[in-house]
Amino acid sequence: MSPLTNLEEGKSSTIKEIDNNMQRAERRRLLDLGIYPGVSIRNCFNSASGGSKAYEVLGTVIALRKEQAEKIYLRES
């Protein structure tokens, strides 16, 4: 399965699932931000110091750290 970290800059995809090993609270926080299976996500740009990237979900640009993005899997296009 392809993790969100593989998504090229400027490209969109659909979230397939969130890693089952992710802690519940962390999962909830992603859900809170509107990051859940079925939703479309786009890689917008990188941070100057690296480590985190900005993604667009439901019209809002949200910064996520690499550790989170690795646990979000995308639908194969």
């Binding site: 909830r28 926080r29 809170d32 439901l58």
Partner: protein, 277 residues
């Protein structure tokens, strides 16, 4: 700034901005919404206060309160922290949810960003599960127009079962309609239809139906039984406590009574946190 929008006249005869004078109020209005939807702009325009909030989530951790007078009714306006949802993943969400449930607002105005409707409806639907005394303030309509977004207001109102008013808060556009709608819902003159139905996962169906049935027998007056059942099944400590102490039942008996203010809510929150340590 686009030139086609003119600032609407401040001289709205029926509105008096009362600032911090909120001692004797007839109706309490809660202001909820996502971060960056213009919530503070609505708050400031109605109360005449100058609440400044930065545009990042969580900056308004404390609440703001203010008041206005509309058609000789005094309204107390409570600005809740801007949140994406009410899942209680943070202190703001806990405060917002508890206020909507226990603070007993007569109306909850949800400020919705028209340019990000779906995201904002996530919160809206969660609030509608708790209360249907809601007015939707569909804000940033000018920005939506510029982005080529068109929203069928009547259809949205029908889908949600509550009034939807389109506004441009920066220029106080649509505020006459917003105020009259708030007044109507507060006074109980609006027919609120049923809220949208959310599909319950199959594992939850039997437990939820069972608990709702019990509640119907025990506390028929509770308005949001399905939501409460789900909260209990998730082990929501605050709700369990409110059920045992009878607080939940009192809510529906004493309208227009100041019950718990946010400070008390906060204290409660802190004390429950302290208990966990």
């Amino acid at each position: 700034m686009s030139t086609d929008i003119k600032t609407e006249s401040f001289k709205r005869k029926q509105l008096k901005k009362l600032g911090l004078k909120f001692d004797n109020w007839d109706y309490m209005v809660a202001l909820a919404g996502n971060p960056n939807t213009g919530k503070s702009t609505v708050f400031n325009a109605l109360t005449g206060l100058r609440q400044h909030t930065g545009n990042w989530p969580g900056k308004t951790v404390s609440r703001a309160e203010g008041a206005f007078d509309y058609k000789n009714n005094r309204f107390k306006l409570v600005d809740l922290p801007g949140t994406y949802s009410l899942l209680s993943t943070s202190e703001d969400e806990e405060i917002a949810r508890n206020f909507i449930l226990f603070g007993q607002p007569d109306v909850t105005v949800i400020v919705v960003d028209a340019t990000r409707l779906e995201r904002n409806l996530n919160l809206t639907l969660q609030i509608l599960e708790i209360t249907n005394k809601v007015v939707i303030c569909l804000n940033l309509m000018d920005e939506a127009k510029r982005k080529g977004i068109e929203i069928d207001i009547t259809a949205l109102s029908e889908e949600l079962g509550v009034p939807v008013i389109d506004t441009v808060a920066r220029y106080e556009k649509g505020f006459d309609e917003l105020l009259s709608s708030i007044h109507e819902v507060a006074a109980g003159n609006t027919n609120i239809e049923t809220s949208p139905d959310i599909e319950i996962p199959k594992e939850l169906k039997i437990p939820v139906n069972d608990l709702v049935k019990d509640m119907e027998e025990l506390y028929p007056e509770l308005p949001n039984k399905k939501w409460l059942a789900i909260r209990l099944l998730e082990g929501d400590k605050r709700i369990e406590e409110a059920l045992c102490s009878g607080e939940l039942l009192d809510l529906n008996k004493s309208f227009n009574q100041p019950h718990l203010n946010l400070d008390e809510e906060l204290k409660l929150l802190n004390s429950t946190e302290a208990n966990h340590d």
